[in-house]
C-alpha cells in the first residue's frame, strides 16, 4: 500500500539497473529496446576503442560499445551474465551497450533522486545525470545521450 501511494504522489520512473563490477547504473527503461546475450561480435577496424564492433540482431546490424572501456574501467572477459542492452535514443539508430550484468528493473522515485554536483558531473564526463538512493544502495543514472552520442576522434 505504501508503495502504491508513493507511486501516485511521488513520480516514479522505471530503470533497468545494470552492474559494472560493484557499481550500479540505471538506464531509463523508455530508451531500452531489448536486452540480449552476447552474440558473435564482428570487429570493426580503426574505430573508437570502446566500440567492440557490430552484431547481427535479427537482420539489423547494430554497433555495440563496452561501457567499461567508455568509463575507463579495466576490461574483463564476457561471462554467462554479460548482456548487451539495445537502446534507441534516436528511433532510427539503435546501439548496444555491453554491461557485466543486468540486476533488476527498479522504480526510482523523484524524491530518491539527487542531482549530482557540477564537479561530479565534470568528473564523470557528463555521463551521470543524477544518483538514486535506493534500498539496494546508490544507483548512478546514466545520461544516455552523452554516453552514446559523443563522437570521439580516433
Amino acid at each position: 500500500m505504501d508503495d502504491l501511494e508513493r507511486y501516485v504522489e511521488d513520480k516514479a520512473t522505471q530503470y533497468i539497473v545494470v552492474n559494472l563490477g560493484i557499481e550500479h547504473y540505471g538506464i531509463d527503461i523508455n530508451y531500452i529496446d531489448n536486452i540480449v546475450r552476447v552474440p558473435a561480435i564482428r570487429r570493426v577496424p580503426n574505430v573508437q576503442d570502446f566500440f567492440k564492433g557490430v552484431i547481427n540482431l535479427r537482420g539489423e546490424v547494430i554497433p555495440v560499445m563496452s561501457l567499461r572501456v567508455k568509463f575507463g574501467m579495466p576490461e574483463i572477459d564476457f561471462t554467462n551474465s554479460t548482456r548487451i542492452i539495445i537502446v534507441k535514443v534516436d528511433p532510427q539508430a539503435a546501439i548496444g551497450i555491453i554491461v557485466d550484468e543486468v540486476e533488476q528493473v527498479m522504480d526510482i522515485y523523484a524524491s530518491q533522486i539527487e542531482k549530482v554536483s557540477a564537479e561530479k558531473k565534470e568528473e564523470s564526463n557528463g555521463y551521470i545525470t543524477s544518483v538514486g538512493k535506493t534500498d539496494r544502495g546508490l544507483v548512478s543514472i546514466l545520461n544516455l545521450a552523452t554516453v552514446i552520442g559523443e563522437k570521439e576522434q580516433i
Binding site: A40, V44, V54, G59, P63, A93, E152
Partner: protein, 718 residues
C-alpha cells in the same frame, strides 16, 4: 465542401503545372512565336486557376487568372512577348509557387496579395492592347484566325488536323459509303476538336454525333462509339458519315454544339474513299484508281523514302501515320496513362522486405551448400530461388527509379535568372534528363548539381567582352550531361569558361597556410584541385550572393559521397572545366566480391573491380617509398588491406599474393587480400551514426550464416 482530402493531389498537380509553365515560358522567351508553347502555357494556367478555385484559394486563383489573361492576349496575337513582360510573368510564376509552398506548409494560401505584380501585368497589358481586363476582342480575332482554316479544310495547312484521313476503315464500311454516293448522298469525313477546357467531353461528343445522325448515318468513328461514350479520348475524335445534307450544313450543326473548338472535314468521292487510312497527307490526289491497288500506291512513296530500312507493308501504315500523329496536339500524351502514384514510404518498406528476402535466400544458399547430402532437387530449387529474388530485386529497383528530370528541370530557369543577375550571356544545355536513378538519389542530387551550375555561372564563365577578347562566342555554355555507365550513372556538369587556374589555387593554398611553398610546389595538379573540395576553401576574390562563401564544393562532395558516389573534375585553363559525378544505380543491394583478410570476411563492391590477379611477391617494387606492381605495362600502387585493417603483418610472405585491381575513374589500385570466397549479392546495412569508421569501411552486410561482414569502399583507397 471539404477539400482537405484533395490537398495532396492539388499540391502534386499544381507543382506539375507550375513546372510546365516554367518550362514553356522559357521556350516562349526564346521563340516568341511558338504556338505550341503558348497553348501549353494557357492550358496549364487554366487548369491551375480552376484547381485553385475549386480548393477555395482565391488569391492564387486571382493571380493565375491575371496571368492567364495575359497569355490569352499573347495567344491571340494582340500582345507581343517582350523581355519586360516575361520578367513580370516569371515573377508572377514565383509568387504562384510561393502560394503553393505556403499552402503546403500551412494548408492556407497566406495573406500576400501580390498586388504590385498584378498591377504591373495589367499595366503592360493596357499599354500593349489598350484594354485592362476584358479580353473580348481577342476572342473575335481568334475566331477570325480560325475561319480561313475551316473554310478550306482540304488545304495543306490543315492536313495535319485532318486525322480522319488516317483512320482505318474496313472494306464493308467503304462499300457502304460508295453505295451512298451512288445513291446521291454525301460521304463526309470529319475530325472534331473539343475545347481543351471542356469537362464533359463525352457529352459534347454525343451531341455532335446526335446532330449528324439527324442528317444521316454514322459509318465509323475513331475511337469507337463505346470509347467516346466512356470518354476514352483526348480532345478530338474522327468519324465518317453518310449525310443527306451538304458538308457545310453538317459542319454548322456540329459547331452549334457548345465547347466544340474546331471541325475539320471534307467530302469524299468514290475514288477518295479507297485512299482512306492510307497516306494521310495527299490522299485525294493519289487515289485515282478505285481498285485495291490504289492503297498500295498511296503507301508507296512513304516506303520509297525509307530506302535505308527494308520496310514491310504492315509497317508502312503506322510509319505514315506517325508524322501526322505527332503534329496533332491531342496525340502528345498517351490516350490513357496507366500510372498510379505511390507513397515513397511504401516503396521503401517493399525494398526492405526484398532485402530481408535476399538475406534469407543467402542463408538457404549457404545451408544448401554446406549440407552433406548433395540433393539435386534442392540445389535446383535454390538456384531458381536465387534467380527469382534477383529479378524481384531488379523489378523493385526499377519501380523506385525515376528520371533525373525532376532534379534538373528547375535549372534552365535558374540559369536565366543568373544570366540577368551576373550580367553574362549564358545558355544551359541538358542532355540525358531521362536517365534514371533511385528516387532517393534523385531527391538528394538536386542541391549538389545546383551548386555546380552556379559555380560554373559565377566562376567559370567570363563576361561577354572577356570572352570576345579570347576569341570565344559571347554566349557562354553550361552543360549538364547524364548517362548510364555500367552499374553507375554519370552526371557531368561543366562550362566553356576560363577553367581552373591551378597555379592560382596553388598560391592560395600557400597563402592560407595549408601547405608550405615547397610542399605546394610538389603537388600534382590533381592534388591542388582536390583542395577546392576542402571546407572553407574559396577561390572567389569577392563573395557574391551566388557563390564564393567557401561553402559549396565541400558540401557537394560530402552530399555525393553520402549517396555512395564520388565527384572529380577535369579542367583546362582557358577552355573550361567539367565536374564529373558518378553515382551508383541503387543504394541498397549490390553484387560484391567476398574476400578473406586476416581471419575476417570482407565484401568489395564488384562495380569497382576490374580484374583479380595472382602476382608473385617478388614483383612488388618500391617507387618513392610506395609499393607498386607492374601489370601489362601499367604501374599500379598496391594497398595491403590486412595492415590497413589492423592485422599484424604475416610472418612469412607467401610466394604469390592475390591482388584485386580496383578502378576509380582513370586511377587504379591493387588491393591485396588473403583469400577469395566468391561473388555474392549483398544487402548494404549502415553501421549507424555513432560509430566513427575511417572511410575504408562503408557499411556492413549480413551473410547467409548470420555472420556480419564489413564492406570495403575501394574508392576510398584509390
Amino acid at each position: 465542401m471539404d477539400t482537405s482530402q484533395y490537398l495532396g493531389i492539388f499540391l502534386d498537380e499544381a507543382r506539375e503545372h507550375i513546372q510546365s509553365l516554367s518550362d514553356q515560358m522559357m521556350i516562349l522567351e526564346q521563340e516568341p512565336e511558338n504556338q505550341d508553347a503558348i497553348s501549353e502555357i494557357f492550358r496549364a494556367a487554366h487548369s491551375l486557376k480552376g484547381m485553385a478555385g475549386t480548393m477555395g484559394y482565391k488569391k492564387l486563383q486571382h493571380l493565375t487568372h491575371v496571368t492567364e489573361d495575359c497569355f490569352s492576349d499573347i495567344r491571340s496575337g494582340s500582345m507581343k512577348v517582350t523581355s519586360e513582360l516575361m520578367d513580370v510573368l516569371f515573377q508572377a510564376l514565383d509568387s504562384i509557387e510561393g502560394y503553393v509552398n505556403t499552402i503546403q506548409e500551412t494548408t492556407d494560401e497566406g495573406d500576400e496579395e501580390n498586388e504590385n505584380i498584378i498591377n504591373e501585368i495589367n499595366r503592360i497589358r493596357s499599354a500593349e492592347t489598350g484594354k485592362g481586363d476584358a479580353p473580348a476582342p481577342a476572342k473575335e480575332e481568334k475566331k477570325a484566325d480560325e475561319a480561313p482554316a475551316e473554310a478550306a479544310p482540304a488545304d495543306g495547312a490543315s492536313d495535319e488536323k485532318a486525322l480522319y484521313r488516317s483512320m482505318k476503315l474496313d472494306d464493308s464500311a467503304k462499300d457502304v459509303m460508295k453505295d451512298a454516293i451512288a445513291g446521291g448522298k454525301h460521304a463526309l469525313g470529319f475530325t472534331v476538336y473539343i475545347e481543351e477546357s471542356c469537362l464533359l467531353k463525352a457529352a459534347r461528343a454525343f451531341l455532335v454525333i446526335k446532330a449528324l445522325e439527324d442528317m444521316g448515318d454514322i459509318v465509323a468513328t475513331d475511337p469507337s462509339t463505346q470509347d467516346i461514350e466512356d470518354e476514352k479520348f483526348e480532345f478530338n475524335f474522327s468519324l465518317y458519315t453518310i449525310c443527306d445534307e451538304e458538308i457545310d450544313k453538317a459542319r454548322e450543326a456540329m459547331l452549334a454544339v457548345s465547347e466544340i473548338a474546331e471541325v475539320v472535314g471534307e467530302e469524299f468521292t468514290e475514288a477518295g474513299i479507297d485512299s482512306i487510312g492510307g497516306d494521310a497527307g495527299k490522299a485525294e490526289e493519289k487515289a485515282e484508281a478505285p481498285t485495291e491497288g490504289s492503297r498500295e500506291e498511296a503507301e508507296a512513296p512513304v516506303a520509297k523514302e525509307e530506302t535505308t530500312a527494308p520496310v514491310v507493308k504492315e509497317e508502312t501504315a503506322p510509319a505514315a501515320k506517325a508524322p501526322a500523329a505527332k503534329q496533332a496536339p491531342a496525340a502528345k500524351k498517351p490516350v490513357i496513362s496507366k500510372t498510379i502514384r505511390v507513397d515513397i514510404d511504401k516503396l521503401d518498406s517493399l525494398m526492405n522486405l526484398v532485402s530481408e528476402l535476399i538475406i534469407a535466400k543467402n542463408t538457404i544458399v549457404s545451408a544448401a551448400d554446406s549440407s552433406d547430402t548433395q540433393n539435386q532437387a534442392l540445389n535446383e530449387q535454390v538456384e531458381y530461388l536465387e534467380s527469382v529474388t534477383t529479378n524481384l530485386h531488379e523489378a523493385v529497383m526499377k519501380v523506385r527509379m525515376v528520371p533525373i528530370e525532376s532534379a534538373v528541370q528547375k535549372f534552365p530557369r535558374m540559369v536565366r535568372d543568373l544570366e540577368k543577375k551576373l550580367d553574362k550571356k549564358m545558355q544551359l544545355t541538358i542532355t540525358g534528363e531521362e536517365t534514371e536513378l533511385d528516387r532517393t538519389v534523385v531527391d538528394e542530387i538536386g542541391d549538389p548539381l545546383m551548386h555546380l551550375i552556379r559555380n560554373s555561372a559565377d566562376h567559370g564563365l567570363e563576361h561577354p567582352d572577356e570572352r570576345a577578347a579570347s576569341g570565344k562566342p559571347e554566349m557562354g555554355t553550361i552543360f549538364l550531361n547524364a548517362f548510364q555507365d555500367g552499374n553507375s550513372v554519370v552526371i557531368e556538369v561543366g562550362d566553356d569558361g576560363k577553367g581552373i587556374d591551378v597555379e592560382a589555387v596553388r598560391s592560395k593554398i600557400v597563402e592560407r597556410g595549408l601547405a608550405s611553398e615547397d610542399t605546394a610546389a610538389q603537388f600534382t595538379d590533381k592534388e591542388v584541385i582536390d583542395y577546392l573540395f576542402d571546407p572553407g576553401f574559396s577561390m572567389a576574390k569577392k563573395v557574391t550572393d551566388i557563390s564564393g562563401r567557401g561553402v559549396g564544393l565541400d558540401v557537394v562532395k560530402s552530399n555525393i559521397e553520402s549517396l555512395g558516389g564520388d565527384v572529380s573534375v577535369k579542367t583546362k585553363l582557358g577552355e573550361g572545366s567539367t565536374w564529373i559525378i558518378r553515382l551508383p544505380l541503387t543504394l541498397a543491394i549490390i553484387q560484391a566480391l567476398m574476400v578473406i583478410i586476416g581471419d575476417e570476411k570482407y565484401a568489395i563492391s564488384l562495380d569497382s573491380i576490374t580484374t583479380i590477379e595472382n602476382i608473385p611477391t617478388t614483383d612488388v617494387k618500391l617507387v618513392q617509398g610506395k609499393e607498386v606492381i607492374q601489370l601489362r605495362g601499367t604501374v599500379i600502387p598496391i594497398v595491403r588491406l590486412s595492415e590497413l585493417l589492423g592485422f599484424p603483418p604475416a610472418e612469412e610472405q607467401p610466394e604469390d599474393m592475390i591482388v584485386v585491381i580496383a578502378k576509380k575513374g582513370d586511377s587504379l589500385a591493387g588491393l591485396v587480400v588473403d583469400e577469395l570466397i566468391g561473388q555474392q549479392e549483398i544487402v548494404i546495412k549502415s553501421l549507424g551514426k555513432y560509430i566513427n569508421t575511417d572511410r575504408i569501411i562503408s557499411g556492413a552486410t549480413i551473410l547467409g550464416d548470420g555472420e556480419v561482414a564489413l564492406i570495403i569502399d575501394a574508392n576510398a583507397l584509390i
